[in-house]
Symmetry: C4
Subunit: 268 residues, 4 copies
Amino acid sequence: MTSLKKSVYEIIEEAAPGHRASQIFDIFLIALITLNVVALIVGTVEGIHLISPRAFHLFEVTSVGIFTVEYALRVWTCTEDAKYAHPVKGRLRYMVSPLALIDLMAVLPVYLVFFVNLRGLDLRFLRLVRLLARIVRLSRYFSSLRTLGRVLHTKRGELTAVVSVLFLLLVMTSSLMFFAENGAQPEEFASIPKAMWWSIITLTTVGYGDVFPVTAAGRLLAGVIAIVGIGLFALPAGILGSGFMEALQEEARPPVRCPHCGEVIERM
Amino acid sequence: MTSLKKSVYEIIEEAAPGHRASQIFDIFLIALITLNVVALIVGTVEGIHLISPRAFHLFEVTSVGIFTVEYALRVWTCTEDAKYAHPVKGRLRYMVSPLALIDLMAVLPVYLVFFVNLRGLDLRFLRLVRLLARIVRLSRYFSSLRTLGRVLHTKRGELTAVVSVLFLLLVMTSSLMFFAENGAQPEEFASIPKAMWWSIITLTTVGYGDVFPVTAAGRLLAGVIAIVGIGLFALPAGILGSGFMEALQEEARPPVRCPHCGEVIERM
Amino acid sequence: MTSLKKSVYEIIEEAAPGHRASQIFDIFLIALITLNVVALIVGTVEGIHLISPRAFHLFEVTSVGIFTVEYALRVWTCTEDAKYAHPVKGRLRYMVSPLALIDLMAVLPVYLVFFVNLRGLDLRFLRLVRLLARIVRLSRYFSSLRTLGRVLHTKRGELTAVVSVLFLLLVMTSSLMFFAENGAQPEEFASIPKAMWWSIITLTTVGYGDVFPVTAAGRLLAGVIAIVGIGLFALPAGILGSGFMEALQEEARPPVRCPHCGEVIERM
Amino acid sequence: MTSLKKSVYEIIEEAAPGHRASQIFDIFLIALITLNVVALIVGTVEGIHLISPRAFHLFEVTSVGIFTVEYALRVWTCTEDAKYAHPVKGRLRYMVSPLALIDLMAVLPVYLVFFVNLRGLDLRFLRLVRLLARIVRLSRYFSSLRTLGRVLHTKRGELTAVVSVLFLLLVMTSSLMFFAENGAQPEEFASIPKAMWWSIITLTTVGYGDVFPVTAAGRLLAGVIAIVGIGLFALPAGILGSGFMEALQEEARPPVRCPHCGEVIERM
């Protein structure tokens, strides 16, 4: 029995180099999740969904079945991992790990719909949870996303400093514009939080054009804010961008290996 | 009496390392100012304000009371600082220092409303002054904002050069567009200052879409201006951004200390 | 006969230094293709086309004639190139090479219109193929475009990593915005693919203003997405830009030559 | 007589260090031109112009008088410069130099209005020439603008390469969008030149929102174009920006001087 559990564990864990069955399982799972995400996205287009609602439903039910079996197998075999060795406590701790929770959230919403009586809003929220959980599952296989996560961690000091400055700037510009434009446009600049919407859309240079100053004072203020502020709102972008490029270049560099045993000594 | 004044001075001054009472006072003040700014911002949303106008009023009155006491204590104890040692002249000089003026502007508007008969515009202006003064007070506790201030000082040469070029570019493109579009759009391009609004919103790439050229000549001109000009309008952003990043990295570097006495020799 | 073929080959091939006839042929061809592209572009302006539809037609027919002769000459003389030496197989292989296919696509659509009975859509598609083929032909003479192509090749690793992150971000933000805004704007956010249009236009900071969030939740979400996401969407731009600048500077540097034979040893 | 001419020449030429009269003349002229530009700009605002049309007229007439005298003095004294030493030929050559032509264009339009019978269009064109000439005159005193001019010269190779790529990209994306959207929006995408307006406004990320794709094919295409293209359209900005920063830093560096005679050996 133990040997079966170990074999299953080796197959459903991330592919070890050379382990064919594990590689095939991984490719199958990536393909299934990708198709699933595509189906959930394309399924929101009414014209496409109406071609064959049954096909969409069937694919969804089958996928959820496979994901459920996979989840059960993961919980069953997780005791092979030294971290979750205890048959009960280990399994419970595995079940509350972020990875397992994401796996659960990718299937649970479907079962909730069967057993619980839900209103429209909850149904839509569950669909969102299901979709996001599957996108996150898919993103686990993107190494570049892991790189980005590492960059966010490395640059957290700079990012915090920049975001705090942006926040103060946002509060200040929104207050100024609220007082400048509230008289002329009581709808669009009804409150400071509403003026913040203007500030963000202007300072990121998106500029939808749904809100803009119309008074001379407001335009003068907006001009100065735009010229000064876009420099600061471009900072998080710059930090993330340059950090990501550095990290990609680091990864492309061959790791330093011990000349005797060949093991990696330094990787970054 | 002097020892009490000195104790109060030590508490309300910026927290020295290890001085618990001073640290608690600082945290309390930061929390109070933050809540105050949030209340003033959220209070502009009619729906939220109407839930309990009395709660907003009570919180405001209490805050102003505390800020007034704090201001009085600061004026009373400022003579402990060698710079403001003289009991009368020193206190007066302290009261016209930027920090003290901001503190005053955070409370004075409320008293003015009580004693002076004001019209609508003045009332709104006083509310703005009060809010801005408190945001500035809050920003005093953000070290990253001090860093940004230092960057503005270090890069003032480059920024002046760039801003003067931007100003000439703005005047020139606005003049050209005014002559190109005034005939077809006498409202939107009514004057050169109005055309400047178009120039700023286009060259910062915000592009609200409230004003844009419609004639063939105007569009050709606008296309050339957009391609050439956005490079120049992105310069202040680039200078501020790169300067800010450099300053943050400098600060993360440990300062050079004398190997004998341990004092900081060089910090930047 | 062979000597004539060789002479023609030398003329129509890219100009060797000092070969006058070949240089004149090249200049003539560049001028003709440029005029052709200009005529096809300007010909879509109704007012200009109606001045003299016959002139446009005549110029088109003449150009196609010249391009056809040129194409025939190229196929005839390609056997001079060692790669396509075989009279039949070599010529066939030349004819399916990308360069020759582009040349063919620049003339074939005109002949198809004569011999095949076509409906409106096909006609317009053929006009597009013809125009694009000629632009591509023209771009062959732009060395800076070759540089850009080389940059795309060198940076393909970084670009793939970045584009995969962008894709996940796009899917995730579109899903979130669809669920946030679909209730309030069932037209604009009718499906997740429609929400993707919003995502792309916002994250590239274009911001047309045809779709934007109107609910408080949607605006909060959009604000966070805008500040975080524009940094990532600016990455492909940054990679292409910096790579292009590096490549241009490399090219400006004189190549390393062997001190004995004068041949180029290293070029990049 | 010669000594008077030489004195006048020294005063109206750019201020030599220590020459007080010349410095005062320069400051007076800068102030006059600045006021002039401000008056011409502000004079286009109807409300302001109507306050006192006579004051505007009087200031204009006085200024033109002073500029005319100044121009006459410059032509009279230019023979002091070795380049224009010949009394007739030298003066003629001075008069066709760019600087002198700009000076002439700043006054000539006013005289033309007096002596020639002009229609509305010509009048407005002359006003534009006068305003632009005075802005250019003013910009002569901005050293940062000279720096920018030098950058344009130094980077002309890169700029030409980039602009040629942008041009091809513009032609290609406009052609594609014309064929994708012309059917659905025959007004906005009436011709390829009209589609170019869309391309420029999208690729520079201005995004007014006056033209945007509405078909699924057009939106897909626009999304790809936006992500790929904005990187390339940001290049001229990047080249100008980085070049300008480099030049400003170069200028801030002290020049290398000969240790013997103290003359500047190298400045860049």
